[in-house]
């Protein structure tokens, strides 16, 4: 125990940095992913067939490929194609695309569940479609998906561990580095798991709170 505390003290900054990077990656990828998902979801719901179909195919493809494969493919392919991105950047790209596809599907579901009478009512008072979207449809859809959206945040925290495979210095990678030095596998993998658990539990709590707070009714 004493030795563990000693090692922990040595490792405190790398661990903190790793945790910070994990959070940063998660926040960045959920932000990009949500923006992608918004366009995707709107296209899937209201787009004409020539817009809807390609998005559909793209979304289904991305959802059918493991995140780790997306990450490795984006890491190796981009470098090979001469696009110079750092490991973090290519990882972020993969996570954003992954998140975007899922959000697109979630947002489509939410938009489709809004009764068509809402659009009729908005048209009746003379709103144009972009305005209907901005003032009537999206506010309802976003409220509805709030709990799922926050849950996606926890999913991304978990998925960000996969970036350790391409050498991004997030929490898991830092943990592995530390273990490589002191060989305390049990203690530090355990600690790492607990840290992830704590972060995700917080997100989960917040999601429950937000779910009640934003519920329509």
């Amino acid at each position: 125990m004493e030795q563990f505390l000693h090692e922990l003290w040595i490792a405190r900054w790398p661990l903190a940095q790793g945790l910070l990077l994990t959070v940063e990656i998660s926040v960045a990828s959920i932000t990009c992913g949500t923006i992608i998902g918004l366009f995707g979801g709107i296209g899937l719901t209201y787009g004409k067939w020539f817009l809807r179909w390609p998005i559909r195919v793209l979304v289904d493809c991305i959802r059918g490929i493991p995140v780790l494969v997306l990450i490795l493919a984006s890491f190796y392919l981009l470098t090979f194609a001469g696009i110079n991105l750092t490991a973090i950047e290519s990882g972020l790209l993969a996570l954003s695309i992954f998140c975007g596809a899922h959000m697109g599907e979630i947002i489509r579901g939410a938009l489709q569940s809004i009764p068509p009478g809402q659009i009729d009512a908005a048209r009746a008072i003379g709103l144009t479609f972009p305005r209907i979207l901005a003032y009537v449809l999206l506010p309802q859809a976003m409220r509805q998906i709030m709990p799922v959206w926050i849950n996606t945040g926890a999913e991304l925290v978990k998925a960000s561990t996969l970036l350790s495979v391409i050498g991004t210095g997030e929490l898991l990678f830092r943990t592995q580095e530390i273990i490589g030095r002191n060989f305390m596998t049990l203690e530090f993998y355990g600690l790492c798991g607990i840290l992830y658990f704590l972060v995700n539990s917080m997100i989960e709590r917040f999601g429950k709170f937000a779910g009640q707070r934003f519920a329509l009714q």
Partner: protein
């Protein structure tokens, strides 16, 4: 730099890829089998009158749900031997994926149980079925049907999760792709093939599921 796609590379390594794919499917299958047992046990435990099993199951589910699978996999493979639990690569990965899926399946089965109408269980009681008989002949059949779609999606996502086995050098599909990538630098071929195989397998399973759901219509 001009890159020309060489199908020959894929052809030469197709065997490896297909074996990797099958290994992934086998891993997912083994995991969901054990996971289903864990899930059923936990879900039925929460229906017990006493609160203790419910709380234990709750702790297990939230612990697993909030921990990344990769951390679980690494912990089981690298850290458990320190406690004297030494498993082979395959066994260790199956074990990880099984306890991981067990948590998700617990929730699936719980929802499925909640969807069994109380009156129908009463009817089973009324004709004199005992607890075990009610579970076997009334509750479970209805629960399975309720859970069928979620079981299917769980299997698909477990299959995709088997890609993580590459990290501990289990020679499944992702491992094969990475190997081809680093050995021959046929980057595009390697990842395109792997992606395509994952994708088509997922689509195939999903299509099979839709058939299955049609064969067993909702009550």
């Amino acid at each position: 730099m001009a890159y020309s796609f060489r199908f020959g590379v894929i052809e030469a390594n197709l065997d490896n890829f297909l074996q990797g794919l099958l290994l992934g499917l086998a891993l997912a299958f083994a995991a969901i089998l054990i996971g289903t047992l864990i899930g059923l046990l936990c879900a039925f435990a929460t229906t017990a009158k006493s609160r203790a099993p419910s709380r234990l199951v709750g702790i297990y589910v939230s612990a697993i749900r909030n921990t990344p699978l990769l951390v679980i996999v690494l912990f089981v493979y690298f850290a458990l031997p320190q406690l004297g639990i030494r498993l082979g690569k395959l066994e260790s990965f199956i074990f990880s994926l099984a306890i991981y899926s067990g948590a998700y399946l617990t929730e699936v089965f719980r929802a499925g149980l909640a969807g069994v109408p109380k009156g129908v269980v009463d009817a089973g009681r009324a004709i004199g079925l005992n607890g075990l008989q009610r579970a076997l002949y009334v509750i479970m059949p209805i629960m399975w049907r309720n859970c069928l779609p979620a079981l299917g999606t769980t299997f698909i996502s477990l299959f995709k999760d088997t890609s993580l086995a590459a990290v501990i050098a289990v020679p499944e599909l992702t491992y094969q792709a990475r190997k081809l990538n680093t050995e021959t630098f046929r980057v595009a071929e390697a990842w395109a093939t792997a992606s395509l195989l994952y994708l088509s397998t997922c689509l195939l399973i999903a299509a099979g599921l839709r058939q299955l759901e049609r064969r067993f219509p909702k009550f």
